[in-house]
């Protein structure tokens, strides 16, 4: 008998063709053309594993969580709490107590603004955000500043679409109590240096709130390395279902904060004279949560882990670099934001004087799905003196061929509007 030679077991790198087989929605034609889905920045598609896990949950173990002692309720509670653990590991949070399930990024940011802001902000204090924020990281701060009398300030952006660091040095000072910023702009694609910005906030005694809606689905995230106080993101942009999001919060800060919404599950004791609050994270999860959605998110995280976040980041970098090169060659097309090596997997552009809605309609007739409008980020568009832009965004399932389809459809738009 001869000993078998040990072989090195290496997981094979996934191919886009294999990944696409897991996404039933991509196997269709739109207006007679194979669908090219370039709108994952708005919402990603879901692999069959996620869809089936949610279906299975409803078929086998659904019941309300945290109350019943019957078998189904225990199974549902376990599934829900397993999802929380999965999320904590995914972003390297030290404890599941720091993982609050919300509806989406918007709700997470509102939770921080209202709950932390109302308890901590007063006239004379300053809240600092940036001009590249999504409306969900602008409007809650505007509202809370109105309520508390604090002053809202904005870090401007440079012509290249990056934060103006000279201005930041002036604006971030001892009056600043919160610095809230996006990790990746949903319009410019700009990847901000989160750890550095958090450190600068902490240096003046401010808390750092990170909008991770665009970064968490695409870049490996480690909240301990970033040292962020809060990080909000959404399931539906990372292969999971709509209706559930996550707010990571530093435990000591969460413990000191009053609740956001009141109701069931978030209380310890309710008396007619008043109530006391449940422990973390339940203090911030009033009412029956999105249980099936948590199960779906958990499986989405499995999927991302299996493919590998590093693979995803590199895949998107390649597609974005290729798309950048191709789009640059189209006469009359101008890309917003920084160079490909300093941005995530999305390209927003303006094309001659064709209105983005017209571009998107023409592309749609070629089966190419892009986003048109202000992408919930009007201040950025005001900055560039435009009312809207067209955005193509890339994810795990997109291919270089699809970039070619985008380019061909853009040439068609040019022909129709003949400029």
């Amino acid at each position: 008998m001869t000993a078998s030679t040990p072989t090195l077991q290496v997981a094979p790198m996934p191919t886009v063709a294999e990944i696409r087989k897991d996404f039933p929605i991509l196997q269709q034609e739109v207006h007679g053309h194979p669908l090219v889905y370039l709108d994952s920045t708005a919402s990603s598609q879901k692999p069959v594993q996620v869809i089936e896990a949610m279906d299975e949950y409803y078929r086998t173990i659904h019941a309300n969580v945290h109350r019943g002692v019957h078998t189904l309720s225990e199974a549902a509670t376990t599934a829900y709490e397993d999802a929380r653990l999965k999320v904590a590991r995914f972003i390297n949070a030290p404890s599941t107590k720091e993982i609050i399930f919300t509806r989406n990024t918007t709700e997470g940011l509102n939770l921080v603004a209202y709950s932390w802001g109302r308890a901590n902000l007063k006239p004379g204090d300053e809240v600092l955000i940036t001009e590249m924020e999504h409306h969900s990281n602008i409007v809650p701060w505007q509202l809370i500043c109105e309520i508390t009398g604090a002053t809202l300030r904005y870090v401007p952006i440079t012509p290249r679409g990056e934060l103006d660091y000279d201005a930041l040095s002036q604006l971030l000072n001892e009056k600043t109590k919160v610095f809230a910023f996006t990790a990746m702009s949903n319009v410019l694609g700009t990847i901000n240096p989160v750890a550095e910005l958090v450190a600068r906030a902490h240096a003046v005694g401010a808390i750092a709130v990170v909008d991770g809606a665009q970064s968490v689905p695409h870049l490996k995230t480690d909240v301990q390395a970033l040292d962020a106080d809060f990080l909000a993101f959404s399931s539906h942009k990372m292969l999971g279902p709509t209706g559930i999001g996550v707010l990571y919060g530093r435990k000591e800060i969460l413990q000191a904060m009053p609740p956001f919404l009141g109701g069931g599950d978030m209380i310890r004791e309710v008396k007619l004279s008043g109530s006391s609050w449940n422990d973390l994270p339940y203090k911030f999860e009033a009412g029956t949560p999105a249980i099936a959605e948590a199960v779906g998110l958990s499986v989405a995280i499995d999927y991302l882990n299996q493919v590998g976040m590093d693979w995803i980041t590199e895949h998107e970098r390649q597609i974005t670099a290729y798309a950048w090169e191709q789009l640059q060659q189209i006469e009359g097309l101008r890309i917003l934001g920084p160079d490909p090596e300093r941005r995530g997997g999305l390209l927003s552009f303006i094309f001659g004087d064709i209105h983005p809605h017209d571009i998107a309609s023409i592309l749609d007739m070629q089966g190419v799905a892009v986003r048109a409008g202000h992408h919930c980020a009007q201040p950025i568009h005001d900055h560039y003196g435009i009312s809207a832009s067209t955005r193509a965004s890339f994810y795990i399932y997109n291919s270089l061929d699809e970039v070619d389809r985008l380019v061909a459809a853009l040439h068609q738009a040019k022909d129709i509007f003949s400029f």
């Binding site: 209105h355 809605h357 309609s361 007739m365 409008g373 202000h374 009312s387 129709i416 509007f417």
Partner: protein, 126 residues
């Protein structure tokens, strides 16, 4: 594709009719589509409840601007009561193409501005 951006719509988009402003308009109204930023301003001169002059200004996509251009062509001579009766189908007939639910908001913005200016009706036209 050629159906959607048929020459008539592109023609109104490129060479809008009644684009500009009136001197001392009797009715002046401006509104935007919050989802996409399309803007329309409409100005009317009215005599004996009848529109005698119409002008629009605005910016936005081909559908919204062509819709405004076509609508202003039809308005002159119309009574204010007739304006109240105008509906979604009227605009779709004018444009002459089928329009999905999202682009419908673009197409109907000029009618919304018209109805709000004349009758104070703030809802999107049914």
């Amino acid at each position: 594709m050629d159906d959607f951006y048929r020459e008539n719509i592109l023609d109104h988009y490129r060479y809008p009719r009644h684009k500009g402003h009136l001197e001392d308009p009797d009715i002046h109204y401006h509104d935007v589509n919050p989802f996409c930023g399309d803007e329309i301003t409409l100005e009317l001169k009215v005599e004996d409840d009848r529109i005698v002059e119409a002008a629009f200004d605005g910016k936005g996509c081909a559908i919204s601007q062509a819709s405004a251009s076509m609508l202003t062509e039809e308005l002159v001579g119309m009574t204010l009561e007739e304006v109240r009766q105008l509906n979604k189908d009227y605009i779709i007939d004018l444009l002459g193409i089928p329009i999905g639910p999202v682009r419908l908001k673009c197409a109907l913005l000029p009618l919304k501005v018209l109805k709000a200016g004349v009758w104070g009706l703030e809802e999107w036209p049914e």
